[in-house]
């Protein structure tokens, strides 16, 4: 269906007064019970983890039963020994998703914690299979005959990242879905701290029409403790012994920001700095107790002090997230969207490593990155459990695209559909949502080189999380303007969350 046809048919729908668009309906059996503690006032936090560069998720979750594994291995050109990208069967960490059979899939060997969480009695971890950027439900033959509207510049990093962040790929990216959520929920914050908070890029994701995101830095460690120079909130203070007369020295240039000026770039920078100072002071006071020039968190965060965690750049971001969640009452907020990220997944040429002088996938860039993800997600989830907020915090992943199943001898190239992880106490975990691309499925969705046609639009997957966050149907239609284009995708993720 081309764009014009789509517009005609949707106009027709509204003309006959169709029932209001209800994106997701959860069966009673899947609706869980979540009882927030009384003082939380329905607090919820959505933590969005972007894996920049295009995570090879076809190696993150792999068919484990022999015939399916063999088909997977063939699609990846065999084992590393032959320059293929198939992980060794024996290295995989098997899981048994509901409905797919015992040990039907395996996690990447670098992700033992994800294997454990998937099997955990609380079932906090779910997999969303083969999701990706689309503009309408698309079949292989539609793709091959160009008889369908497609996202612009498929397989380009920047365009696919933009799609995942904006969910408005057919328009210039002015705002992101995180920012539009923040617009909807702006009353949920005290008005001083924005709903959307970024720790690792995501400039587009967090931009709203109204909301301006607050960008903070990840926590870093010095001598085993949080380095005070990396405290989340900073205010520039003139510590030099200048003989200021009257008020604080920064008031001079703050007043300058407040004065009218015509140039829009100067206005922009002035407001950024004024906001930085004001929010910085507010957040700093809410979160830290200053003690002899040093800073300690007012609300302790139970955090692993393992050396690996302290050196994990993703864990450093999630530590800051946990600290802000711990301080939610002082910060006066009941809804927060966090953007964290890890880069380096564009493994065209460095997917293999060297184990005992042998080319191997049990080392190398992708292996290292998934280790970081595994450790950071586990550490963060454990912290939310310890803090008693695991039911109120959901972490979800995004990435530019999946990669080609076909190996290029050194790694993989840009693909399309990919698998994502969703983690938290409000998740109906232990399951795979959507159709996992097993052998029988592949010929129906492989557009070439092992690039997989997504069968769940990224819009649908992310909108389900926004619904959990509290957006109603009307708000979802505002935040995700293309959502109604994917009626048959919606049921696939309806049960992803318990509410």
């Amino acid at each position: 269906m081309n764009r014009r046809k789509f517009i005609q048919s949707s106009a027709a729908l509204s003309a006959i007064g169709a029932a209001p668009f209800v994106p997701f309906s959860i069966s009673t059996a899947d609706a869980g019970t979540i009882t927030p503690s009384a003082d939380e006032s329905g607090y919820r936090a959505l933590v969005c983890l972007f894996l920049f560069g295009g995570n090879d998720s076809h190696n993150m979750i792999v068919p484990f039963q022999t015939s399916e594994y063999n088909s997977y291995a063939a699609s990846r050109n065999g084992q590393a020994a032959g320059n293929g990208l198939a992980l060794p069967l024996a290295s995989l960490l098997p899981i048994s998703p509901t409905g797919l059979g015992s040990s039907s899939l395996g996690f990447h060997p670098a992700m033992p914690s994800m294997q454990a969480l998937f099997a955990d009695a609380a079932k906090p971890l779910a997999i969303v299979a083969n999701t990706g950027p689309l503009l309408s439900e698309t079949t292989l033959s539609q793709y091959q005959t160009s008889n369908v509207e497609l996202p612009p510049q498929l397989f380009s990093h920047s365009d696919m990242q933009m799609h995942w962040q904006s969910m408005r790929p057919d328009q210039p990216a002015v705002t992101g879905w995180g920012g539009r959520i923040a617009d909807v929920f702006r009353v949920a914050s005290s008005g001083r701290l924005p709903v959307s908070i970024g720790l690792g890029g995501g400039g587009i994701f967090m931009k709203g029409d109204i909301a301006t995101p607050y960008q903070v830095m990840p926590v870093r460690y010095a001598s085993g403790a949080i380095d005070p120079r990396t405290r989340i909130a900073r205010t520039p203070v003139a510590e030099i012994n200048w003989n200021w007369t009257g008020s604080k020295p920064q008031d001079v240039f703050i007043n300058d920001y407040s004065s009218a000026r015509a140039n829009l770039l100067e206005q922009q920078y002035g407001r950024l700095t004024k906001g930085s100072l004001e929010i910085g002071e507010f957040v700093g006071n809410a979160m830290y107790a200053e003690n002899a020039g040093n800073y300690s968190l007012r609300n302790a965060v139970p955090w692993s002090s393992a050396a690996g965690v302290l050196n994990n750049p993703l864990a450093a971001q999630l530590h800051a997230v946990a600290a802000m969640i711990a301080a939610r009452q002082a910060l006066g907020t009941t809804r927060q969207v966090f953007f964290v990220s890890l880069g380096g997944f564009d493994n065209h040429g460095d997917q293999f490593g060297n184990v005992n002088n042998t080319k191997s996938l049990l080392a190398g860039k992708h292996y290292s990155l998934l280790s970081l993800v595994d450790q950071a997600l586990k550490t963060f989830y454990d912290a939310t459990v310890s803090m008693g907020v695991s039911n109120l915090v959901t972490t979800m992943t995004m990435s530019d695209f999946g990669r080609t199943l076909k190996s290029n001898g050194q790694g993989s190239d840009h693909g399309w559909g990919s698998h994502q992880l969703v983690l938290g106490g409000a998740v109906n975990g232990g399951r795979v949502y959507g159709d996992f691309p097993f052998a029988a499925k592949l010929p129906l969705i492989d557009i070439g080189q092992g690039r997989l046609l997504p069968e769940i639009a990224a819009d649908v997957y992310t909108a389900r999380l926004a619904q959990w966050f509290g957006a109603n149907s009307t708000e979802l239609a505002t935040i995700f303007p293309n959502l109604s284009r994917f009626p048959s995708h919606l049921p696939k993720v309806a049960s992803l969350m318990k509410s």
């Binding site: 084992q79 020994a81 032959g82 320059n83 612009p152 510049q153 397989f155 990093h157 920047s158 365009d159 705002t175 920012g179 400039g203 587009i204 931009k207 029409d209 909301a211 960008q215 903070v216 830095m217 120079r229 900073r234 520039p236 203070v237 003139a238 030099i240 003989n243 200021w244 007369t245 920064q250 001079v252 240039f253 007043n255 300058d256 004065s259 000026r261 140039n263 829009l264 770039l265 100067e266 206005q267 922009q268 920078y269 002035g270 950024l272 700095t273 930085s276 910085g280 880069g343 564009d346 065209h348 040429g349 002088n357 042998t358 080319k359 076909k406 290029n408 050194q410 190239d413 840009h414």
Partner: protein, 690 residues
Amino acid sequence: MTRFALGMRGPTLYERVGSVAGVANSESNVGTTLARLDVDKDGLFTTIDATVLARYMAGFRNAALVRGLSIENNVAPPNAASITSYIEGGCVLSTPSFTAKQAAARLLQQGTWGASNAEITAAANRTPNEWITDQFTKSRSLYTPYAEALIAQNKVSGNPRCDQLDSGCPWAVHGPMFYKMALEGQDQLRQRVTNALLQTLVVSIGNNVLLDSGTGVASYLDTISKRVFEDPSAEVGVDGVSRTTGSFRKLLRDITLHPAMGVYLDMLGSSFEVPNENFARELLQLFSIGTVMLNNDGTAKLDGAGKTIPTYDEPAVQGFSKAFTGWHFANQPMSTEPWRFYWPIARWTEPMTPWTGRRCPQDGRWPQGTTDATCPAGSPTGCWCKVTGTHAALSYPPPHNTDSKSLLQYANAPFATLPAGQSPQQDLEQAIDNVFNHPNVGPFIVRQLIQRMVTSNPTPAYVNDIANVFNNNGSNQRGDIKSVVRAILLHSEARSATAAAQISFGKLREPIIKFLQLHRAFGATASSGYYDIWDIGGVENVGQSPLKAPSVFNYYHPDFAPSGAMSYGASPLQGPEFEIASASSVAGFADFMKWGITGGFNRGRTNGDHIAPNHAPYLSGATPLADNPTALVNDLDLLLTANNLKPGFKANLIAMAGGITRSDINEQRQQRLYAVLWQIVQSADYAIQR
């Protein structure tokens, strides 16, 4: 003077004329007074100036002074009369007006890493065109030799900067190299343009292989800076074919074959079986044409349905990927040492060359170079790769893909299809011809150059004018970067105060440029010549690290449009540099600056490494500026912002400085200077370059 104008230096300058002892003096005297001796005011001291001066000394005056020279028929100054009166006045440069200095300060903000008061005054005595012409002649700062010298020094036992004598700490040379050239080099415009192009044609020491190479990125910088001011000329390509082109085509080819790019985007080692698409895709998307068809003014073309039109599709990416197969570090001895595929001799300063040797048989093991007689012949799985012996029979095709390739299809496109069976060199040069001649290249590249130097939101008319120069430099040459740079800086939108007063004009200064400007404005250099600055890219520091873009998408996207004041109206304003400006970076930069301001940056291991600013005019002498708050604020306003501080803010600064009193007058002067500097550096009026 005539000899100097002809380019002679050293003893030849003085030979048979005077004493050897006078050589150094005469060279430096002429060199430092070139602006005064430029009597025809064309921005250069040439044989014409020398001839005029020699004629004057011989007694010629007025018309006879210039007869037969190219200035003879000038009606506006300079002409014979004005030159005569200028010489008779003692070749004294006039004290430029405040307006002239403000205009010069603006030009230098756009075309240098930052300028001192003396440099602003000198530029104010020339037209912008003269200043640009003069910059074209400045000798080129070379990154690679300095990086190599540093690594060599680091290998000497007892050196203070590296504890790994075998390697010489190649990963540690990038900061010292970059800052040395930026703070000491005279070729400021060339460096600024080189850096602007590096931010489009990105490689980065964020890649560990390039970081550890020490010279990979250095050589890449030299590759760009060599081309940027090169006039169009004939050149024999790697395919043996001579082409006469502008410098941008040569640059596109050079970066394609540069091993730093080869490693960064995986073209190095890409082979026929599965051509790596990484470089091919980014060459199209980021380095040349972008993803949508553009009008010559940089706006997107729309089809009948009002939608943008893609510039290329996946088959074109695959066509370029195949065309770029079969290259490796220069001159790898592949056929005799096949393990060089994995452990190459990394020649970072030489262009890649085709490799013709056999790839190691794909037995999945790291190849080794010894014979193993026990290895079963013909088995690719039981053996390590062998150099000699029976495994020579395991032949693999050469790594270059010799299929026919479909490239970019557009009107009059050269080499829209590459025929089968061509050499890697033929495919490569022809693929570059195909992309270089695409009509998008001009608007796509010049708009980003304008954004890096002048303004984030150039009008379509500005882009159109400069793209016209890119398309044809006036001599029917395409891609002449030198002409493009001159046109960008001389355009009325860059120069006129009216354009600068538009509410959408200007750009956010990059953190690196703020950092460099605050050194250069006060002539801060390290007396040791060693700039001990490593990575200050954290948001608690400067917030951007040179040569270390986080990805091939640079530090920021050229079309990033922040929400807020700039998103008013139908079309939001773009502000690429705002993508790395956050609450944390603003506060971190403010904290970081306060100590740099007070004593110069990086106090280093030794006093010689201290990058000390010269604050003398403010603190000492007969009339220290710090004793006069109004003069102090006015001076710093011109020096740092080209007079962009708003009157109310200046009044507050003057009052604040006057309120700082100390019994020790020296302490009072110092603290007034530091306080005013600290305030200006935080201000929006400083942050936005207009």
